[in-house]
Symmetry: C2
Subunit: 302 residues, 2 copies
């Protein structure tokens, strides 16, 4: 089954204690699509400028990611620049240039319209809703968001939540959004806003899945000695979830399907953190993913 | 099998956003012993002053906790006072009065000397080593520590680690001790200091167990909507681990025994947090513990 994902495609400039790289492939939809592509075909909905390197479009196509819904317009591509310090959990955004993203109005090509598994990767709730409206028969909707949209677009974000089957958000943003210090309370309050399931991402501490009737699943993070570049980890996580679900060949999922999807998301996020930019997400094998999934099963067994 | 535990017995004054209580039962050995007592007989090694309420000694005896190695001497009992704020993960120590603890030299009664499962709860490494030296045939040693001992008694703490089968420490303390921001690296470095296994406690984020040959287990925390008083959670956790191991009727444990022990520790810590002081640890049933253990199995299944 095909996954459609909407979100940003960016040229990122990232500095960590060990290296700095300019205009690397980034953006929520780029990470999410590459991650999902290991499990299922993907249709990517986004916008880039004329400066966007052809090699990145070629990369997408080489990984069963359809690019017919990536619009290329006059102007510069969206750019983001950030720096990580010794504690890789903290990052500082140095600059954001929306550029062509400012005028983005999703336009889905036929293959994207026909997709049933929808991943609304992190972007404006308006873009998320406009995309979903163009999908013919959305069967399962995963959506991701961030603090910016909680602050400046809350009513539209609430609309997204009403249409969402699985909402993904990180822990500090969930606490801010739901106005509580308690992440368990935040998860339950988010469920009351419409999504059938909620995943709260906790970075190095793993992820929590909340479902109907008090269903709950807790996944640790994959234990990493070194994090080279955590940019896109959350997007890769969401991509792994959506990709795995699409690979199951059905459109209704029980709680254990979603729990396994969260573990696949965790595996993809862990690989994402092991390299700069999308380096690792471009070069994995299905055997790498299967091996780490099995390893993870051992880490959770008691 | 009997667990011997050495550590502090305190009269705690605790303030949270919802309440404040004076001279409540506290101290690492009190929490650890009460927790372990649900699984196995316990011998408690500690010291109190003449002001120590008889009802607390009666409480210990009513819960199969031997008090023959609790010395009562002239002077006031050890007192600790602290406050928790809206975020219950942060606490401020208001005052510490060592009182009789200052002259504490563990003196083990025969029942304590004969115990095989040793829990060196959080107290000075000197007290831990002196206790262990008086145990006739220690078969398995669990030890717990804190940042204070890392700072002021590092050489003696390293001696404790050499004699430890399972070392327990919280995440920020492990990072400080091992001089790394990465908790996985901290766990592996601690293993190199002598203990066969290391557990890093992460509070609301669960616990990590590191063992030989790269063995690893990750447990989430039990999901709590409300934390009433986290004082003693780490001690209850260690007590649950030691108590469960002692209940197995053997002295060599495989990795899955230890992983299950970590889950029992997690269950006991979760109950501990649901009430002030030792209230909940005094009134649990075995059915409560079994129910939450099973619930936890469901939360980790995928």
């Amino acid at each position: 089954m095909t996954v459609i994902t909407v979100g940003t495609i960016a040229l990122d400039t990232v500095t960590t204690p060990e290296a700095s790289r300019v205009d690397q492939l980034g953006g929520s939809a780029a990470y999410a699509a590459l991650s999902a592509s290991y499990f299922s075909p993907v249709e990517l909905v986004s916008i880039v400028g004329r400066d966007f390197p052809t090699r990145y479009l070629d990369l997408f196509r080489s990984r069963q990611i359809g690019t017919d819904s990536i619009e290329m317009v006059d102007g510069e591509s969206f750019r983001w620049s950030g720096e990580y310090f010794e504690d890789m959990n903290q990052r500082e955004t140095k600059s954001v240039a929306l550029n062509v993203l400012e005028g983005f109005q999703p336009k889905l090509a036929p293959a994207a319209r026909a997709a049933q598994l929808v991943l609304l990767a992190n972007c404006s709730p308006d873009n998320q809703i406009d995309t979903l409206a163009q999908v013919d028969n959305p069967a399962f909707v995963v959506s991701d968001s961030m603090d910016l949209w909680v602050s400046i677009a809350r009513p539209r974000l609430l609309d997204v939540l009403q249409k969402t089957d699985l909402f993904v958000i990180n822990d500090s943003e969930a606490r801010q959004f739901m106005e509580t210090k308690n992440v368990i309370t935040a998860g339950h309050r988010l469920l009351e806003l419409g999504p059938k399931h909620v995943v709260i991402k906790k970075g190095e501490h793993g992820a929590l899945l909340f479902g109907p009737d008090g269903r709950f699943f807790s996944a640790g993070a994959y234990p990493l000695h070194e994090v080279h570049d955590p940019t896109g980890a959350g997007d890769s996580f969401a991509g792994g979830i959506a990709g795995h679900l699409a690979s199951l060949g059905k459109t209704t999922f029980d709680f254990s399907d979603l729990a396994r999807a969260v573990v696949y998301g965790t595996v993809m996020a862990s690989y994402n953190c092991e390299s700069f930019s999308t380096d690792k997400l471009e070069s994995l094998t299905l055997a790498d993913i299967a091996r780490r999934f099995e390893e993870f099963q051992g880490f959770a067994r008691f």
